[in-house]
Point group: C2
């Protein structure tokens, strides 16, 4: 009989009774779960107890470190460049990584962005990039290091070796209603980012209707928890609390978000996407020791675009290839003249998801050309009959449920009915 | 794609957020869990949410009915006798079913006692009876009905057809620290008892140190919940709150508890075992319409013993066979003369379990001769060197850990240090 130093039932009971777990208990729990000794059913009872009774700061740090210890930890000491990375908690139309990674890398800094696929109404960066013909998300460790040294920017799939405990736990939380929980979100994100080996990290923590965390106070607590976890682990970490009440930019989907990102890299693009890209780029470069970089210039003069093209090509993609377009479109027009007074992020995210841009189950494919293109933003004047947004899908039967999701989510009226969604960037935390 | 009317994640989320579930949601959840569509990991997150956020009375009733509906429900309408049954929430030295079932049956009432095996420090009735050579717990439905008609008393294993959802759920709760929860305990016990088809039921709800529920108030709430569930389902239900601070009787184990039960059936036995047997027998007979039965007489004049012998024989047991004895014994004697001032139920239960009388895992066997025989009860005068209790085990290496469990659980001293454990029966609830 193997001698186990702890009993899962005791640990679950302690958290159930709002007790505090020791470092040794947390280490054992995560290790035993990773090797299958602790069952999914036990871990899900534990996560529900954590959801309802919380964890102390020290327990969250221990949980994060235990998840890092469950796998390998990358090390960039041999790289000639400094490393910095960014993580977003996810939002509707959030394609910021696409222009941001090459923009930062164009200043000689390495951005080792290990990314994921989308589940639910927020998209995944890999799904977006996979709409580029030939582009592949899976790199070997050698390819990953070589591209970092050469191009500087890499966006690829995280290998199975990084924080495997987190992978198991995340899949479990997804089906047991224990996703929206600060100790579990913070340890999940930070275990992956710390294991990834970046020297510094900028967090884009979304709040508002289209974010996982609707509440600004709750998002702030998550941001504080994560910056402390990063600092404890020697990763310099800053967070921005940013607004996800309105879709970010004008494109929600996959191929159309790539198109919009290329516009930004060409010096154009929607103002909100450009603003957030610039703020995050300045912070990342600052952390990497590049002070007062002319990031706006790098978007205008083709420097960032050049790195983008090299980044896409290095992973087999053709930066000049035509992106896929949908078989069917459905245009929604303004029912009257006036101001676009409302455009709620969550329903637009859900609608794009229902059109095929997202997946309901992890094993489902996404339809790269499916999504929504917005033709106006809140506050814009519109005239009767003018297109407000276009739905795209490969199957026309998807429009009905997408339009259902959008009911009541937008409106045209007098300017005094314009919804105040608040500023794009609420605050910076370090 | 099968069309499921509900989503398990939505249901878990509702209970997580302390919401109230509809009858339809509960029906679907239990049905979907029984057929394997809802996973163990989802159900354990749900039960933890129920543990921490509770359930309304209506939800508990719906849960109970849904678990009954997950399997078959026995019907005794064709039986010539009235039926009544008893359930105990479990305690240390609780062998009451053994004298009680034949005593009640000796008055022409049927006692269809579907029973379980022990897990942890409280023993199981089937484990005790299996120490009788030849006795078997598994009966077919036909054998069960025939014995009820003929002998009146049957103690046997519940078939897999009764409340299968409860069986799955109970096994899950056992490994996820969600056992001690009123909505889940009440629905588990009552779904089995109602499915079993008895017309009336007497509950022995234990409280105190050796019981699952230490707290009297909590035990009272459980008793009220269960009596209401019984009455709602047309099963006349009464509950007694009884004291489990001190072991019941003088024997803790399996074979030795059978021996003590036979003493009671022969008109002797410890006063507390006799008292509780008589109180529960009067209540069961009263519910079955047998008023003012001379239950004391039936123990004295051999009437109950006769039914016991027929009950054991009908299930292949030899009532005259010698019961197993342990290979090794260890006697603990009084370190001084005085009064036995302390004898705590839980440590004695744990010690008997460690001696081999109980099991740590459902698949483990029990050692029928292992256990503890008490030679004194709190308040008894003892003299230095007099045996206080005897440990029995088949393997002498078990004594050390059993004695560890007993440290501080008993004491000999002056009478004014006698612990007040309270009366045996606290109250009756109907």
């Amino acid at each position: 009989m193997a001698v186990e130093p702890f009993d899962a039932v005791d640990i679950i009971r302690t958290k159930r009774d709002a007790g505090v777990l020791s470092t040794e208990q947390i280490d054992w729990l995560i290790d035993a779960y990773t090797r299958g000794y602790v069952a999914d059913s036990q871990m899900s009872a534990f996560t529900m107890a954590v959801y309802l009774n919380g964890m102390e700061r020290r327990e969250i740090r221990d949980l994060t470190l235990a998840m890092i210890a469950s796998g390998e930890r990358l090390n960039f000491d041999t790289l000639s460049k400094r490393t910095t990375d960014k993580h977003s908690t996810g939002g509707v139309g959030d394609k910021i990584t696409l222009p941001l990674a090459p923009l930062v890398a164009s200043f000689g800094v390495a951005v080792p962005q290990l990314s994921g696929r989308g589940l639910g109404h927020t998209g995944g960066t890999l799904d977006k990039l996979e709409s580029i013909p030939g582009w592949r998300a899976d790199l070997t460790n050698d390819e990953f290091f070589a591209q970092l040294e050469d191009v500087g920017a890499v966006v690829c799939a995280a290998g199975t070796g990084l924080a495997p405990a987190d992978k198991k736990l995340y899949a479990l939380r997804d089906v047991t209603a224990t996703v929206e929980c600060i100790p579990l979100i913070a340890s999940s994100i930070m275990s992956k980012k710390i294991a990834e080996g970046t020297a510094s990290l900028v967090l884009d923590v979304k709040f508002g209707g289209g974010a996982f965390l609707k509440d600004l106070g709750y998002a702030r607590e998550l941001a504080r928890t994560m910056t402390e976890l990063g600092d404890d682990a020697g990763v310099k970490t800053t967070a921005f609390l940013t607004n996800m009440n309105v879709p970010l930019g004008l494109a929600i989907g996959n191929a159309n978000e790539v198109r919009e990102s290329v516009e930004v890299l060409a010096g154009g693009g929607p103002a909100d996407v450009v603003e957030l890209t610039l703020v995050l780029a300045r912070e990342m470069l600052d952390q990497a020791g590049v002070i007062d970089a002319d990031v706006e210039g790098a978007l205008k003069n083709g420097k960032a675009m050049d790195t983008w093209r090299r980044m896409i090509s290095a992973q087999g993609g053709d930066p000049d290839a035509a992106l896929p377009t949908a078989k069917e479109t459905h245009v929604v027009t303004a029912p009257r003249s006036g101001v676009l007074t409302r455009q709620d992020a969550l329903p637009f995210g859900v609608a794009a998801w229902r059109l095929g841009a997202g997946r309901a189950r992890p094993q489902d494919p996404v339809q790269h050309a499916a999504g929504i293109d917005l033709h106006a933003k809140p506050g814009d004047e519109v005239t009767e009959g003018q297109p407000l947004f276009t739905l795209s899908a490969d199957e026309p039967e998807r429009f009905e449920r997408a339009l259902e999701a959008l009911e009541g989510s937008w409106a045209v009226g007098p300017r005094d009915e314009l919804v105040d969604y608040g500023p794009l960037i609420a605050t910076r935390i370090d």
